[in-house]
């Protein structure tokens, strides 16, 4: 399964793919994409890394990564951002947008604009949390199926 070609390409591509995934997550409120899409790109980068390594190494590495805890944290963060709306408004109310909060709280311009990263209110936070959840979830799915494959080959 693991060949020199895959290993060499992975060495150069993986970092690029991971960066691109992170970019899509963070710019979710400005450009196409968002938490799920970015998380999926990120997870596919990790999938490439998984494929390029031996099964034992993978198992060793991922033993220390709390994937399911990350997933829970992502989901809880998303829910927490939604709950912020209970402070005087309704569930899922975007309370941070246009409020002057230092992170993502700048006023959002209307109409066509060059895109300001520091806007969007709760949306970027939600994107980041969803991205965390999706990358953890998809990676664990890929990992499970990949390790299954290993078991079958050994039998």
């Amino acid at each position: 399964m693991t060949t020199v070609i895959i290993k060499t390409t992975t060495k150069y591509l993986a970092a690029l793919i991971l960066t691109f995934g992170a970019y899509i997550i963070v710019h979710g409120h400005l450009t196409p994409g968002g938490g799920f899409q970015g998380g999926a790109v990120f997870a596919s980068g990790l999938a490439l890394l998984i494929v390029a390594c031996e099964g034992d190494v993978i198992r060793e590495r991922f033993k220390k990564v709390p994937l399911s805890a990350l997933e829970s944290v992502g989901a809880l963060g998303f829910l927490g951002m939604a709950t912020l709306g209970f402070m005087g408004y309704t569930f899922f109310r975007n309370v941070i947008a246009n409020s002057g909060f230092p992170l993502f709280g700048e006023p959002t311009p209307l109409g066509i604009n060059p895109g300001y990263l520091n806007t969007g209110g709760t949306l970027p936070y939600m994107n980041i949390f969803v991205g965390t959840k999706v990358l953890a979830g998809l990676t664990s799915i890929i990992l499970v199926f990949y390790l299954l494959l290993e078991v079958r080959e050994n039998e």
């Binding site: 805890a69 829970s72 829910l79 209970f86 309704t90 569930f91 109310r93």
Partner: protein
């Protein structure tokens, strides 16, 4: 804070579902945590029912600056996701939260020795979220999302015992059925959206004109929801799923099935409520499907050897009663005289039967789970003489069996009697079929009782005893509810069921979001 109840009903179990996976390797803690979350949700559900039945429909607009702001200034159509809780939705929500609580309590002992319990409880709470979302929402696309959540978590729970190939088989079957059904729901949502440009059910119902596209959408919605609630031509997944799922999930899975039934009623009465003339023929279809469902379900049940499978076929057959009751109401929806004479009572019978059936079928499936817990088998021929060893389970089984066969004074009698009486006035043949089904049901439960509980004791089960206390408690609560609902049906009918029926029939109230406009 009371105006936030509809959102809290989703937020609290969702919070529970996301935190439960953190209790890795601590199954006890996960179980207790899930139990407390379901208890909190139960309290919220009771509050919600109280609020809705006393003050009328509750509206919750997500993301708006206040919960009741359906149309912000300058808008003519609703744009945000709106939860629209009328008495019918509150009624279903109450059954969902009650059954999740009972299920969590029962599971505490029932699945104690399985692995991966933190995921089990997370999925249970997620299933609860799916049901609650389906019954509370007033948005078509939201309905689809929650339908999928309930479908995915439900099928993952069906396949929970992954050391059994049969469980995976049943899970896959359930998942494919629910995936195809929900995709068809999405397709019809697309049709309606393309035509009217909105997803809010209340708004759509004012616009629907019943041209060809609408007929296709109605047909697809009707078929998909009938498929997911186990009506007859597509009932094959029900026995597999119900018999393979751990017995603690059965109550919640039953409610999930009836959440689809609720969606079917919502589509027929509210979404397409404007075109009453056509809907009365849909009512005939619904009644006939109901009769077929009850009859075919019970005849299939008679030949079963597997106790849970037998009860699952009865679940199909009982779904027929609900379809018949509400279908009879739908046939006379454009005739106020007949509606007052028997239509409203027929619908009350159908809707009352939902909660009654959920209670006694959960009870019966739990006793089956208890039998499995002590004997390790579900085959009736291998059991025998367990009545003396498990007195509480036996009592619970007798109550459940009497209730499902419609023997007074248990709750099954109350709702079945309403259905017989009213369907007789529409067409005597319908009532006769319903009664025959009831007799056959009794026959098949006498068989189960005789072969599992009576008879000579089997040597293999010399040393078995009663099941652990949480399981007994869960079963006895449900048995008590069976008797209470049977002794005082009028209270339940007046407090819960008739408001729900009136909410379904009150189309103009639904269309104006309870008078917000």
């Amino acid at each position: 804070m009371i105006e936030h109840l509809p959102a809290l009903m989703i937020a609290v179990p969702l919070f529970g579902a996301f935190t439960t996976p953190l209790f890795k390797k601590k199954p006890r803690a996960a179980a207790l945590w899930a139990l407390s979350i379901t208890a909190v949700t139960l309290c919220l559900g009771i509050l919600l029912v109280k609020e809705v039945t006393t003050k009328g429909m509750m509206i919750y607009v997500f993301g708006a600056s206040s919960p009741g702001l359906v149309l912000p200034s300058g808008y003519h159509v609703p744009v945000r996701i709106i939860f629209e809780v009328d008495a019918m939705g509150a009624f279903m929500a109450l059954s969902a939260v009650l059954m999740s609580f009972i299920g969590a309590m029962y599971s505490y002992s029932h699945v104690k020795f399985e692995t991966g319990l933190e995921k089990y409880y997370a999925l249970l709470l997620l299933l609860e979220v799916g049901i609650l979302g389906m019954v509370l929402t007033g948005d078509l696309f939201n309905l689809f999302v929650f339908l999928e959540i309930a479908g995915i978590s439900g099928s993952a729970l069906v396949g929970f015992r992954n050391y059994r190939g049969e469980a995976s088989e049943a899970g896959l079957k359930y998942l494919i059925v629910s995936a195809v059904a929900s995709l068809m729901v999405l397709f019809s949502i697309g049709l309606l959206y393309g035509e009217y440009g909105n997803l809010n059910m209340a708004y759509l119902s004012t616009q629907i004109g019943f041209n060809t596209v609408d007929i296709i959408a109605l047909g697809l919605l009707f078929t998909s929801f009938a498929m997911k609630c186990g009506a007859v031509p597509t009932h094959y997944w029900v026995p597999d799923a119900y018999s393979e799922v751990p017995a603690g999930i059965n109550p919640t899975l039953l409610v999930a099935t009836y959440a689809s039934l609720y969606a079917l009623f919502r589509v027929s009465f509210s979404l397409f409520g404007k075109v009453t003339l056509t809907m009365s023929s849909v009512g005939w279809i619904m009644s006939v499907i109901g009769v077929l469902t009850m009859f075919i379900g019970v005849t299939m049940a008679l030949v079963q050897k597997d106790v849970k499978r037998l009860m699952s076929y009865h679940a199909i057959s009982q779904t027929g009663y609900m379809l018949l009751g509400v279908g009879v109401g739908l046939t006379v929806i454009n005739d106020p005289a007949k509606m007052a004479a028997f239509g409203r009572d027929a619908m009350a019978g159908g809707i009352f039967h939902i909660i009654n059936h959920i209670i006694y079928k959960s009870l019966l499936l739990m006793t089956a789970g208890a039998l499995f817990y002590v004997t390790g088998t579900r085959n009736l021929n291998e059991m025998g003489g367990l009545a003396r060893k498990m007195p509480y389970t036996t009592i619970a089984f007798i109550v459940g069996a009497a209730a499902i066969s419609g023997i007074p004074p248990f709750n099954g009698f109350a709702s079945k009697f309403l259905i017989y009486e009213t369907s007789y006035q529409l067409n005597p043949l319908l009532a006769i079929f319903a009664m025959v089904t009831s007799i056959l049901t009794l026959a098949s439960f006498v068989k189960v009782f005789a072969s599992a509980f009576l008879g000579p004791p089997v040597e293999k089960y010399e040393n078995v005893g009663e099941v652990p206390k949480p399981m007994v408690a869960a079963m006895l609560i449900l048995a008590a509810l069976c008797i209470l609902f049977g002794l005082f049906p009028n209270i339940v009918l007046n407090k819960l069921v008739y408001p729900a029926v009136d909410a379904l029939l009150n189309l103009s109230g639904y269309q104006t979001w309870g008078g917000v406009l």
